[in-house]
Symmetry: C2
Subunit: 321 residues, 2 copies
């Protein structure tokens, strides 16, 4: 390697694990590592472990910090990209108002960028994934909640208060299901991976029939994958709940279309693992619900990078450090 | 006047009248004129009349075309800013695929910009109206329909297919009232000036009591102003419909907040003439429905420029011609 610093490091700071990647200009992940987060042991501890892990990763592959231009972090918010500060993070217990960008830059001696993890994933898909040939994309990460990211003409839309693209909290059902955020009827209460599983448990507890009833009554926890599988073999309750998730997602895509008019809407996160079982009914609902006043329809596609989207996006965003 | 061309002309091309303004850098309207559109007599006729009206207006005030930098048009869409083309306009009968920018530039000998009228109004409020101290605004024009405009960091958000900010067609009530656009449950079917009047007529026809029943049964047409007045004196049906309009607008503001996170949401158009009777219940619904996860709330304000927003915005956009 010469000192041309064509590489950056992308870090996906999760509650359980931290994923680290050495990424090239095209979004290719050349080297990777994964360590336990151990967030409860404090910020200094995590930073120390991360610096060690990065040093080890580079050394192992004959690289040094001089080959690295900058480091990008994706983390759960609320956080400020501009201030480089994590205000609080539900998955990093005890982290309050952590100036992570500055602390990590001091520890590693490289420029650092901090970004919301859903934004980082969207940027990753834009640079190197499903959206790599699009000018503008909106990404929905369908996991425990629903994260959103909006990339318009190559730039993340962050918003005046750095909280844009919180698409999981779009209200799609007025006075609908209560959300921990304080609203009712948020998209993520119907179409996140967690919500799909939770709604089936509620339906069974309310007396609806389902092939999953026995497992639920035995106290087993079920996942959105169980619901998808049950729906695929004709379970009536699972089919209804899965279909409603797709319908609410179609409404969200229509509202995204009318608001920011992107070329493409990309679906990632756990629920998107269902593939065509998600995409086909979602597109069908979209066709049924969409307008006829113009043909400004976004393409609706699955994410292409899986769990790598976060590190690839964070690494790409690091180039602006 | 010297030839410094610090002035531009803004034109609001309506179905009945065309408003013309000579506007300075600060958004001040120095001179104005209004002529009947006569759209049915064809594009050439309208262009000819407009050029004459502008010549007359300039001459009257000791100005010449050399004092004018460019001309901006706001018009109802669908249209293309990029191509300078009106595809079709519900209020300009017979106008199909009209390359207005080029045709008008040839006729008047000045650079011309074409913009969606709701975008132009939003840009006007951003430059010189309620949003003049804000970095980013979203404007809703509550008229026959609901137009939208989004200005982020001083730039109109037009979208990949030039149809962004169609906020009137955000779905706020799943499977709700049918909209001529082909969707159901669009915001404008509940909260436009027309929808508020229409819903009261429907309620009376369905047997609901209202102080406006006699007028409605006599076949009088009623307006949103009638509904607002009736609601103000305790008419139950009018109060319910007015309050629902405010509630749906609050949902729209929340969805705008989560999508683009602007500093301010501005309400213009006919319905906003109700002033505090609109703003107070809308803000109350917003307070009740909003999230508690962060405090990234837009200010909700009334537009300040009235019908001038369109010409001021069009004139300001002309500066980028």
């Amino acid at each position: 390697m010469n000192g041309e610093t064509s590489l950056t490091i992308g870090i996906d700071l999760g509650g359980t694990n931290v994923e680290i990647g050495v990424v090239d200009r095209t979004g290719g992940v050349l080297r990777r590592a994964s360590i336990a987060t151990e967030a409860a042991q404090g910020v200094d501890h995590v930073i120390h472990r991360l610096v060690d892990a990065i040093d080890g990763l580079l050394r192992e592959h004959g690289l040094s910090k001089r080959d690295i231009q900058a480091v990008g972090f994706g983390a759960a918010g609320p956080l400020s990209h501009t201030k480089g500060m994590i205000y609080s993070a539900p998955n990093l217990p005890g982290w309050k108002n952590v100036p992570l960008r500055q602390q990590f830059a001091d520890a590693i001696g490289l420029p650092v960028v901090l970004e919301n993890d859903a934004n980082a994933a969207a940027f990753g898909e834009f640079i190197a994934g499903a959206g790599k040939d699009a000018r503008s994309i909106v990404m929905l990460t369908l996991g425990t909640g629903i994260g959103g990211g909006i990339v318009l003409d190559g730039e993340l839309l962050r918003g005046d208060l750095e909280n844009a693209a919180e698409i999981g909290h779009m209200i799609v059902e007025l006075e609908g299901r209560a959300c921990p955020c304080g609203q009712r009827g948020c998209l993520e209460r119907y179409a996140s991976a967690s919500a799909v599983a939770e709604r089936l448990v509620e339906a069974v507890q309310a007396g609806d029939a389902s092939s999953l009833s026995e497992r639920i009554q035995a106290g087993d926890s079920i996942t959105s994958k169980d619901v998808a599988r049950a729906a695929a073999v004709g379970d009536v309750s699972a089919t209804r709940i899965w279909d409603e998730a797709c319908r609410y997602l179609a409404v969200a895509v229509i509202n995204v279309q009318h608001m920011v008019n992107p070329e493409m809407v990309i679906l990632g996160g756990g629920l998107s693992g269902a593939g065509d079982a998600l995409l086909t009914p979602l597109r069908a609902h979209f066709e049924r619900l969409k307008w006829s006043a113009a043909s400004d329809f976004p393409r609706i596609e699955l994410a292409a990078l899986g769990a790598d989207a976060g590190i690839i996006g964070a690494a790409a965003l690091a180039r602006s450090a």
